[in-house]
């Protein structure tokens, strides 16, 4: 079923020995949404295999299906040639597949030694032999290059050490397959190196590692092969040497260089318009490197980059959802502080977050209540909107944005994704913002709604609103952005304007290897 993929076939035939782990034709749907569609995946003995893909590509579903956390609808799983069907993480662990998640799943209050041996501590007459347990814990961690006090509580150590403890526990329970789900997300460069050393050491013992990460540099630093998922399907599998950076980015984003540039009008007037907001040297240590950004009325600035590259982080800083620790912000005449969303709203900023479900809509409230939420918040509790005003506003936006069904009293949770997104847009439009920030406005909504949202963005812009849009849909960005800022590893690395904006130029900027091979610090 994956035959059209040229990259997968040669990789599979190149190795004659039976794979350590063989996933064949995994499928999984959640309430009609296809999360995995006939995905094949093989892991060899002693290899580090990167599993990559953007949000919603199916990485975590694949991992959960392999470890029995979710039950797959179809497909087979073989571990060293033997078919297995784990029904829980514990069963997968027993079979030899261990997962270490980004949030370390250990008991932070217990000692390191207890965490390593919980449930299988050495005992005599029913009592735990503390000294023996500590001795074994020290010996075990020594293999991983750690010489720490194993009697101290786990939480007194850094996340990196906690990860290594989790890995040591898994390996000591005879795990043959180790799945590392974004273990490096909260580590600094040195800690990443320590973790990589541990990973390489494990592969020398024949253990296979599935490595999920957002950091392409890390993929090229430590992995042997890469598998890319996109929209629940296998996009390709290849040895690292056969997949240059730019090809990898194309696989992840699903873009071909040929379908490229759209002739776009040069937005000449935009730069003449006074800026709505200007950020200079704005940033936060360990979050986003300092950046300059100026947002003009009638001007769309797009943020492009891979997942985890710092796009959402940038807009959260701009909206004050996260506090910057350097740089200045100016809105209108003078310098302003954007230390909280309240202050941002007072300046006329609006923000539609990416996580519609958790950060945007209040599912139980009606469409009307969701729409007037931000406007009411800005007016304050002492000046409530009358029911008639609320009805008017809701009716106006339902008509304007064509929200369906056009019933303002319906709980918003019952609407489709596209209509929820429109209602969220309406919430901010009702406040008549001067700057509207959209994070993945077209994520998870159907094609028709897609086009409508894009048209809306253009119309709003034409009416003189400044916009800042995060999107993984590069073609969309190309159609409406006047300026595209490319991010990589939590820094703004390129700025494309007017005619420079095209899908290939954005891809090239994303994929470009950093000048130094340094990891994000």
């Amino acid at each position: 079923m994956q035959s059209p993929d040229p990259l997968a076939a040669p990789a599979a035939t190149a190795d004659p020995s039976p794979p350590l782990l063989d996933v064949a034709g995994f499928s999984k749907s959640f309430a009609g949404f296809v999360a995995l569609d006939g995905v094949n995946f093989t892991l060899r003995h002693g290899e580090i295999h990167a599993l990559l893909g953007e949000n919603g590509a199916g990485k975590s579903t694949l991992i959960k299906a392999m470890t029995g956390v979710v039950q797959r609808d179809g497909g087979t799983l073989h571990l060293e040639g033997e078919e297995i069907a784990p029904r829980s993480a514990a069963e997968a662990l027993k079979a030899g597949i261990a997962t270490v998640y980004q949030e370390v799943n250990l008991a932070p209050n217990l000692s390191v030694a207890q965490n390593l041996f919980l449930g299988r501590q050495p005992t005599r007459f029913g009592l735990v032999r503390e000294r023996e347990m500590r001795r074994r814990a020290e010996a075990l961690l020594y293999e991983f290059g750690l010489a720490i006090d194993v009697g101290a509580p786990l939480e007194s150590y850094s996340v990196a050490i906690q990860h290594i403890v989790a890995i040591a526990r898994a390996v000591d329970q005879s795990a043959r397959v180790l799945i590392l789900d974004e273990p490096t997300a909260s580590l600094d460069a040195h800690e990443v190196e320590v973790l990589f050393a541990v990973m390489r050491q494990l592969t020398a013992r024949g253990i296979g590692i599935v490595f999920v990460t957002h950091f392409l540099d890390q993929v090229y630093a430590v992995c042997d092969r890469i598998t890319v998922l996109r929209n629940g399907r296998l996009a390709g599998t290849a040895p690292i040497a056969a997949l240059p950076r730019i090809e990898l980015v194309k696989l992840m984003l699903g873009r071909e260089l040929s379908r490229a540039t759209s002739a776009r009008p040069m937005a000449s007037a935009a730069s003449v318009e006074p800026p709505v907001a200007v950020f200079e040297g704005y940033g936060k240590a360990g979050y986003v490197a300092p950046f300059d950004l100026s947002l003009h009325a009638g001007h769309v600035v797009g943020l492009a980059g891979l997942l985890g590259s710092g796009r959402t982080e940038t807009v959260r800083l701009v909206f004050g959802a996260e506090k910057a620790d350097c740089g200045t912000a100016r809105a209108g005449e003078g310098a302003v502080a954007v230390g909280s969303p309240r202050e941002a709203m007072r300046l006329g900023f609006g923000y539609c977050p990416e996580e519609r479900k958790t950060e945007g809509i209040v599912a139980e409230l009606s469409v009307r209540e969701n729409i007037v939420l931000a406007l009411q918040a800005r007016r304050g509790p002492l000046r409530p909107l009358s029911r008639r005003e609320q009805d008017e506003i809701a009716a106006k936006f339902i008509r304007l944005l064509d929200i369906r069904p056009p019933d303002p009293s319906r709980p918003i949770g019952l609407l489709s994704g596209g209509n929820q997104q429109k209602a969220l847009l309406a919430r901010w439009l009702a406040t008549v913002p001067r700057l509207l920030i959209l994070d993945e406005p077209t994520r998870g909504i159907d094609v028709g709604a897609h086009a409508e949202i894009i048209k809306l963005i253009r119309d709003l812009c034409a009416e003189g609103m400044a916009m800042l849009v995060v999107s993984s849909e590069l073609e969309e960005l190309v159609t409406y952005a006047d300026e595209v800022v490319v991010l990589r590893d939590r820094a703004h690395v390129a700025r494309l304007r007017g005619e420079e904006i095209s899908v290939p130029s954005i891809l090239a900027a994303i994929a470009e290897a950093p000048a130094s091979a340094a990891l994000p610090a």
Binding site: A89, N105, L110
Partner: protein, 339 residues
């Protein structure tokens, strides 16, 4: 670069050491105020008078460390005393058989609460609150009067005590409590089960992912708490030689106070059985002080307990805050420099 094990041990023991210091200070203050306070006899009476509270506090320590709460223990004590009085006086059970039966009943009761908490994913607060009303209601159903227990074993056990001189007597209830405290310490601090209890309080999901049988552990914890409440009920009936459906009202709150004063974190994951024992003794000390004084209203005991609770909770937050300060950078170097 290792942090010395002694230092880390000290950090963990900090709350218990604070409780010990408060107990010693309190004892010294009482002794200074009343010359005949500092005697073995007063200490032994302290143990006897608070034996039932000490026993439930041990069970409560397990429950709270696992991240739960058990509001039913006071009612279980009341139910136990009524059941014993009826079984021995009216139904003609030999006392020892009555003890066994009531402990079994309590075990089933606790296991049921644990199972409901686990399988219906309900908060322990609500489930044990229901258990509290249920047990109290059933004891009223059995009898609304105070029934004296006149069995030989009761008068025999009341007389039986180790005489320590100076009028000091180590009574049977005190001995049972000390044994439960010791047993609880061993079970909590030295067994796999005890480690699982701490792990549950640290992170319930992680404990499950580490392959620990979470349902079994949860049921075991509430069973233990109810059985100890039943044992406390037996001790209470020995102490009062009667059974009454209104006995031990509010004891669950005294037990929770003792556990918290003893340095156990209400949110779970941290604590010691010995601390809860000291917490019980501190509450007893306040009571004793008031009875020595004679003129103070007994409500002052509640006020003092309340103030102590506030002080200890504030102290815990402070030490937790200090203990959880990130120590990333120095740790790092350790990892990198190792072979």
């Amino acid at each position: 670069m290792k942090r010395s094990p002694a230092a880390s041990l000290l950090a963990r023991l900090m709350p218990v050491l604070a409780t010990t210091a408060v107990f010693i200070a309190g004892f010294l203050i009482c002794s200074a105020a009343y010359p005949n306070f500092a005697s073995l006899r007063v200490v032994m009476n302290l143990l006897t008078d608070n034996a039932f509270l000490g026993i439930v506090a041990v069970g409560m320590t397990f429950v709270i460390i696992s991240g739960g709460i058990d509001l039913s223990v006071g009612s279980v004590i009341g139910f136990t005393t009524v059941f014993l009085a009826l079984a021995i006086e009216r139904w003609g059970f030999p006392p020892l058989l009555a003890f066994l039966v009531i402990l079994a009943v309590c075990a089933i009761f606790g296991a049921a609460m644990g199972a409901v908490i686990q399988y219906f994913e309900l908060p322990p607060f609500i489930v044990t609150l229901a258990g509290m009303f249920l047990a109290r209601g059933v004891s009223f159903l059995l009898s609304t009067e105070s029934i004296p227990i006149t069995a030989d074993l009761y008068s025999h056990l009341a007389d039986h005590a180790v005489r320590l001189g100076g009028g000091a007597r180590l009574t049977v209830p005190a001995m049972i409590m000390l044994a439960v405290v010791l047993g609880g310490m061993v079970l909590l601090h030295l067994t796999r089960f005890g480690a699982n209890v701490y792990a549950l309080g640290g992170s319930r999901t992680a404990t499950g992912l580490m392959g620990i049988n979470v349902p079994r552990t949860t049921v075991a914890i509430y069973t233990l708490s109810s059985v100890l409440a039943g044992l406390a009920g037996i001790v209470f009936s020995l102490y009062t030689s009667s059974g009454y459906s209104l006995s031990a009202v509010g004891v669950e709150l005294d037990a929770i106070a003792a556990v918290v004063i003893g340095g156990t974190l209400l949110s779970g994951g941290y604590g010691f059985v010995f601390g809860s024992f000291l917490g019980v003794l501190i509450q007893g000390l306040i009571q004793t002080y008031i009875s020595f004084d004679g003129s103070l209203s007994s409500w002052w005991a509640k006020i003092a307990t309340g103030l102590l609770l506030f002080a200890f909770i504030a102290f815990q937050q402070l030490t937790l805050h200090l203990a959880r300060r990130p120590r990333r950078r120095p740790r790092l170097a350790t990892a990198g420099a190792a072979p």
